[in-house]
């Protein structure tokens, strides 16, 4: 395949970035998108050009490290997949492909396509846990959980923390990410005890870190590689209001 790649290059957080065009004819349809970039990088290195930096690790869609804005979509054109699972079969010979980092104030660019997502960790540190010490747990069956609730909690818990929701949102809101964690714990009896403090602390931290507000556009849900539902945001709002009304 012959491709024209327009890739965002930025030396570091303080530098000014720009698109650089690469004519690349080393792609094959059975490559993944990241393998195509690997091949481009090999070519660049041999030409003594600094290769394109990008985060990646498991390359099987579960660690959440990879994430690029490809042709206007987080993780590219495929539905419900991460960038590492995006196949070059999705593209045609002769295509022009734009590749950018996540764009959000709370996710500053580190280099090229790498962004700093520690803001997500900070939100989790603010309250994304159930306070239980090692060794203090009762037998697992001491607290039965309705199957439907457990399944729903699981569906919220599959978030991989990649940040596609923030990148997709015109407001760069982190509501889908935060709501998934809030919902997971709110649905489980273990998580109810700290539910009110948790939702207030996490929302407060999210606001402090410069994420935008939610205007219910739904782009986050449409682009989420794990298909996390907007219902989580509704649940977050409910938890938040209830915590405010009856603290």
């Amino acid at each position: 395949m012959k491709l024209t790649l327009k890739i965002w290059r930025q030396k570091n957080a303080d530098a000014k970035g720009k698109f650089v065009t690469y004519d690349f004819d080393g792609a094959s349809p059975d490559m993944s998108f990241l393998e195509m970039l690997d091949a481009l990088n090999t070519k660049l290195i041999k030409a003594r050009i600094d290769p394109v930096a990008f985060d990646h690790d498991c390359r099987e869609g579960i660690c959440g490290a990879c994430g690029m804005y490809i042709n206007g979509h987080p993780h590219g054109p495929g539905k419900a997949i991460t960038t590492c699972h995006l196949s070059m079969r999705e593209f045609k010979d002769g295509d022009t492909i734009y590749v950018e980092p996540w764009r959000a104030k709370a996710f500053p660019v580190v280099k090229d396509l790498i962004v700093d997502r520690t803001a997500f960790d900070k939100i989790q540190i603010a309250g994304g846990f159930i306070s239980t010490n090692v060794g203090s747990a009762p037998d697992s069956h001491a607290l039965p959980v309705e199957k439907s609730k457990a399944d729903e909690a699981f569906n919220s818990a599959v978030c991989i923390g990649c940040g596609a929701c923030v990148a997709a949102c015109k407001n760069a809101s982190a509501m889908l990410f935060v709501s998934a964690k809030i919902a997971q714990f709110a649905l489980l009896p273990q998580g109810r005890i700290e539910a009110k403090e948790r939702v207030q602390a996490m929302v407060k931290k999210m606001d402090e870190l410069g994420f935008g507000n939610c205007s219910n556009t739904g782009a986050c849900e449409a682009e989420c590689p794990k298909e996390i539902s907007l219902v989580n945001i509704a649940r977050l709002n409910r938890e938040f209001y209830c915590a405010k009304v009856s603290p």
Partner: protein, 639 residues
């Protein structure tokens, strides 16, 4: 001459751990606050240890190379996590899990450690449940179980096909809680490049900040390595592509013995390599072998598409060779059988290095709906990666490097041969012998981190309470930092023409061909020579663009590949030394007339712990004899 003492407590097997805990030395809360512990790695073992030690009141510094601890490779485990709850009333017990692990490991692991791993497995499940890990439940609201290969009970807890992810996120949440309380300080995007030893005790590490390139000194009263395995030695494996042996290897070169390095599990059902650019092999869960049938054409180089090959021209070779277990033979056996067929010229696909995993019969019998309910996500994954629709055409699968049973040698305290250096999870060697059973890696990693290390490290630190905070101005830190910088500068100054990845690929190919699923003396000796030549080429023709003082992913890769040359050499030595076949280690010279693995208990019932003696100097082999008191050593047969 041997220096090895496993420090196994006296007394009956079932009482050892209780006795140990009752007599272990303690550190009072006021003193804990004054003691620093470094934990490298944030998987189930590392983040579990960091949060547990934080709860106890130690000052913990936790490091990972990823941008956030939540991405450690425990996240990718699919199937489940074992515990001996016996919720199914099917006869499970601590002893039974212990027995299954000893047998599954082909009698090459240490009884006392394995028993303890089984013993704490229930605590692990209870803790995860309390932390809100959404395990699968039944309609009564209780936790559900499924069964896994190599055992006769249902003891595997699971969260769909994402058990590792859910357990890791639970552990990450406990870590975050300690970070919020100030007991744990997190250092992401750091790579450990050296271990610092002062007066014979482990006192710190040197790291590189992967964003700024800064070389940093970190001190502590003890260091815990939870840095995973070295399966990426084959380049292509089921591991995260940045997984690496470097931290453990630096420790090894500073004096920590490395045990059974040649014991690597090759998983039989991975999606095969598609092209030369491929960077990673994706696993298809072992559970697929419950309904899928594995076959190749009976005719060599048969170019017909699978569905055009009539039933009587198909060779269901596992069913043919192992009628009792059929497609459900253990991983090591299934992997070798696939390789045997492909090497004999019966492989399928473009490369001939694949076999079919066919669901036609299962779909005809159970219907597409039932199969979709069980394996829908895996079929979709297969379709995304290969373009093959497994509902219509058989999957192509081939074995891939997966898990390293070998690792740093540790005693019962999980301490290496360097005082104050501990190793937990996959990075140590202790619990899986020569072959690991499914769903026991999450179990062992969590048990080590949450429930075992906190006791054993306190026992060690109790003697160190009078030692004030360790200064990083010591000469030893100075020297360690200097050696790290010199090596990095050496790497970037080679200025050759070949990339680190291209060397890694060639290294991986040598290891896969000569020290992979099947090994023989001639091949191993050849590999040793090839590795030597390739290593020389690496150090003269490597190219790394960029500099030392910023993000430089090529530099990161090169450092790891440089270490891999040394790991590979030791792996080959270990495989050469062990002339028996056991578990995943198959020496062609040691097989039964039917071609099955043949153990040599008389000569090899020991852990091979290798001592590094210096650059280009021969290793010293220390043998820890394995004594089996509570199990009878038998032959493993699946016919």
């Amino acid at each position: 001459m041997t220096k090895l003492d496993a420090k196994i407590p006296e007394g009956p097997l079932a009482e050892k751990w209780a006795k140990y805990k009752a007599s272990a030395k303690l550190v009072n809360p006021a003193n804990k606050k004054k003691l620093d512990v470094i934990v490298v790695g944030t998987g189930l073992a590392g983040a579990g240890a960091a949060s547990s030690l934080g709860e106890l009141g130690y000052q913990v510094k936790n490091f990972c190379y990823q941008d956030t601890p939540r991405r450690a490779h425990s996240v990718a485990a699919q199937g489940g996590i074992n515990a001996t709850k016996n919720y199914k009333n099917d006869g499970d017990s601590i002893y039974r899990l212990f027995y299954d692990m000893i047998k599954g490991g082909d009698y090459r692991s240490r009884e006392a450690n394995v028993y303890r791993a089984a013993e704490v497995s229930n605590d692990v499940i209870d803790h995860f449940t309390a932390m809100g890990v959404p395990f699968a439940r039944d309609y009564g609201g209780n936790l559900d179980n499924r069964s896994f290969g190599g055992v006769q009970v249902s003891r595997t807890f699971y969260a769909k096909g994402q058990t590792g992810q859910q357990c890791l996120l639970g552990t990450y949440s406990s870590l975050n809680r300690q970070i919020s309380q100030g007991t744990v300080t997190m250092y992401p995007r750091r790579e450990m490049l050296e271990l610092v030893i002062i007066d014979g005790k482990t006192r710190g590490i040197i790291t590189r900040n992967l964003i700024t390139g800064e070389i940093e000194r970190h001190s502590a009263h003890a260091v815990v390595l939870a840095t995973g395995g070295y399966g990426t030695i084959y380049y292509l494996s089921t591991l995260a592509v940045n997984s690496n042996p470097s931290a453990a290897w630096k420790a090894h070169k500073k004096g920590a013995f490395f045990a059974n390095p040649s014991f690597i599990q090759i998983h039989p059902t991975s999606i095969p390599q598609l092209n030369e650019y491929q960077s990673k092999l994706t696993l298809m869960s072992e559970s697929l072998r419950n309904d899928g049938r594995i076959w190749v054409p009976k005719k060599k180089d048969d170019k017909r598409v699978a569905n055009e090959i009539p039933e009587d021209e198909r060779d269901y070779y596992l069913e043919r060779r192992y009628p009792a277990f059929g497609n459900l033979v253990p991983r090591d056996v299934a992997s070798r059988a696939a390789k045997e067929r492909c090497d004999a010229g019966y492989g399928v696909g473009k490369t001939g290095l694949a076999v079919y995993l066919d669901f036609r019969d299962a779909i005809n019998k159970q219907g597409e709906k039932a199969i979709e309910a069980k394996y829908g996500n895996l079929f979709e994954l297969c379709r995304i990666i290969t373009g093959i629709n497994p509902y219509k055409d058989p999957m192509h699968i081939y074995p891939a490097g997966h898990y390293t049973m070998g690792g740093l040698w540790v005693d019962y305290n999980l301490m290496t041969t360097i005082p104050g250096l501990f190793s937990i999870g996959e990075s140590n060697f202790s619990d899986h012998g020569a072959n690991r059973l499914g769903a026991s890696s999450l179990m062992q990693a969590s048990g080590d981190g949450y429930f075992i290390l906190p006791y054993t490290i306190s026992n060690y630190l109790a003697d160190d309470i009078k030692t004030p905070g360790i200064s990083t101005d010591n000469q030893e830190f100075e020297d360690a930092e200097k050696s790290v910088k010199e090596r990095l500068e050496k790497l970037v100054s080679i200025n050759g023409t070949q990339t680190a990845t291209s060397f890694h690929k060639r290294l991986g190919e040598i290891m896969w061909n000569y020290c992979g699923m099947s090994r023989n003396e001639e091949g191993l000796k050849k590999a040793k020579q090839m590795l030597k030549e390739l290593k020389e080429e690496f150090w003269t023709d490597l190219i790394i663009p960029g500099d030392l003082n910023s993000v430089n992913q090529e530099l990161e890769k090169a450092g790891r590949v440089a270490d891999y040359f040394e790991v590979a050499d030791l792996m080959v030595d270990d495989a050469l030394n062990r002339t028996e076949s056991c578990g995943a280690h198959y020496r062609e010279e040691s097989q039964t007339p039917e071609g099955e693995a043949l153990r040599d208990d008389k000569n090899f019932s020991y852990v091979a712990a290798w001592e590094y003696t210096g650059e280009s100097k021969p290793y010293i082999l220390h043998k820890e004899e394995l004594k089996f008191v509570d199990v009878e050593v038998k032959e493993r047969s699946y016919k």
